[in-house]
Amino acid sequence: MRRIGLAVAAAVLLILVSGAALVLFGPFREGPAGVVRTFLGGGERSPAGGAHGWTAAERGLIASLSIDQLPPLAPDPSNAVGDDPAAVAFGHALFFDSGLSPDGTVSCSSCHVPELYFTDGKVRANVRGADTPRHTPTIVGIGYSDWYYWDGRKDSQWAQALAPQEAAIEHGGNRVAHTLYVLDNYRSQYEALFVRAPDLSDETRFPLNAAPVEDALLRAAWDEMTEADQNTVNHVFADIGKSIAAYSRRILPGRSRFDDYAAAAIANDQGRMGEIFSAEEAAGLRLFIGDGQCTDCHNGPLFTNGTFHNIGLPLPEGSSFDQGRSLGTLKVVDDAFNCLGAFSDAGEEDCVELRFIKMAGDELVGAFKVPGLRNVGNTAPYMHNGIFPDLDAVIRHYNHAPPAFPGHSDLVPLALTVEQSDALKAFLLTLSAAPDAPPELLQAPERGE
């Protein structure tokens, strides 16, 4: 009872004194009616001030971006072998195997280059002199995503891993050819993980090249197959994707200088903070979590809210408008390899994101997935269309924030000064760290692994 009495007295005092402090200490963004804000959530300035002086609320926001807040990667219920070491090794081999392309020149690692933080450094993905429509995103930490591709047209890492194999200007292969190749070259690894490999030797039932793709010959060959035979191939093809995902989900972000700073900020150790960040980097962080409004979308330990926004990007010369998420939604619900499909290991209740997918709304038009910002200083160019060659160009865009057409831009012009823009960039450069993965996974496997 006494505790409650004391608590009530403290609460009343706290509210009174907080109110007085707000009058004295300046502006306070008013919360909506009926919502009680806690003391720590207020807008009070740290009494210490200076480059590394943060309020408790600011320190909480900094902490929310730290890798220390990143939970262990949860299992992917749609991929039963996702955390199986044998699948990691198998997928590692497949990721680097250019045998998964008809001319033997393209593997996953052609565009997801380990030395480039699993990107390719190109404006748009391009393996044989022809640009794909979009820029290659990193795969570091991407296992945490709910959606894959810039438009989220896949809902698992394994389903994503299948699509480039059949894209004419990427791997350029097809599912029957790749299934035959994998069973020929990796039979024992496959059978150790999955069921006994099916017999695909009857070419009248299993033509050497067939897939439900745009190419008329491949599609005709696929359509000739019985549904049961198509499913046999689809199962092995899905298993190939699940193995590649088991490997790629192990590539996690490493501990950056920012994360050390966040730890010092949580402890409110300004001396330590000053050792880790320059005043300019701290000023950039202050903009990032404050006036820059960057954490509206680039939030959480991976610096992404995992959803889709239109930010009014310019179109590359000669290209037409890219619908982005508004088409991605239609594709993912129709995808045979989605979470609810026959080749997924998940139960319906596991497929929450797909079951509650947002299918309608103006904000989907021209919207693309918010990329995480870890290693952003090492992964130029930027945006889904690679339109910006460097971070200066990115920040210029945010400073001006032109309206989107079609759709609406989620940006408001930041109008940062040159000094502020430089500080923001300096902060972004503190987010780099070598990927966190066993060293052997960061290079092609040795033969016979």
């Binding site: 004391l6 004194v17 200490f25 909506p32 009926g34 009494p47 809210n305 929450v352 709304g361």
Partner: protein, 160 residues
């Protein structure tokens, strides 16, 4: 004066903390920092039961909405339980409920398409697919139909 007030505030915060004014279950995303202070490290949160029950616009229904994720944090898809009573305080057990919402200030809706998936009985309804993708002020609007009558209610709340 400012220093004195700050010291007072800090002292009071300690007292409040010691008296369990704000606990992990109540305060939303709270963890202890290096100085033993409670700090919200979620990037945006709210206690699961933060919303006061509300009466619909034309006073036909009283509605409460409680999250099953406690605290409510950003970037996690989760379910809520709605409870609906009529003006006499009796549970409304056969309601149709449509759901809308978003961030009016940002001109966007929810990142998901939440909907009522189950009538749990006793005036309770399961609302699945709720997700908030940033801190700030959100609204949740429920259009409720029962017995040939419809009414709506909007909850406004902040994840901070």
């Amino acid at each position: 004066m400012r220093v004195c007030l700050s010291v007072c505030l800090l002292t009071l915060a300690y007292i409040a903390g010691a008296c369990n004014m704000v606990t992990p279950d109540q305060g939303g995303g709270m963890e202890m920092d290096g100085e033993g202070m409670e700090m919200d490290m979620s990037g945006g949160s709210m206690a699961a039961d933060a919303l006061e029950p509300q009466t619909t616009e034309n006073s036909l229904f009283s509605v409460s909405a409680v999250s099953s994720l406690d605290p409510v944090v950003i970037n996690e898809t989760h379910a809520w339980t709605l409870h609906i009573e009529n003006a006499d305080g009796d549970a409304v057990t056969e309601a149709d409920i449509s759901v809308e919402g978003g961030m009016p200030e940002h001109n966007h809706g929810f990142p998901t398409a939440p909907r009522v998936t189950e009538n749990l009985g006793n005036g309770d309804y399961l609302l699945e697919g709720m997700r908030f993708n940033m801190g700030g002020v959100w609204v949740l609007t429920l259009e409720i139909s029962s017995g040939g009558e419809s009414d709506s209610v909007t909850f406004e709340f902040e994840l901070n």
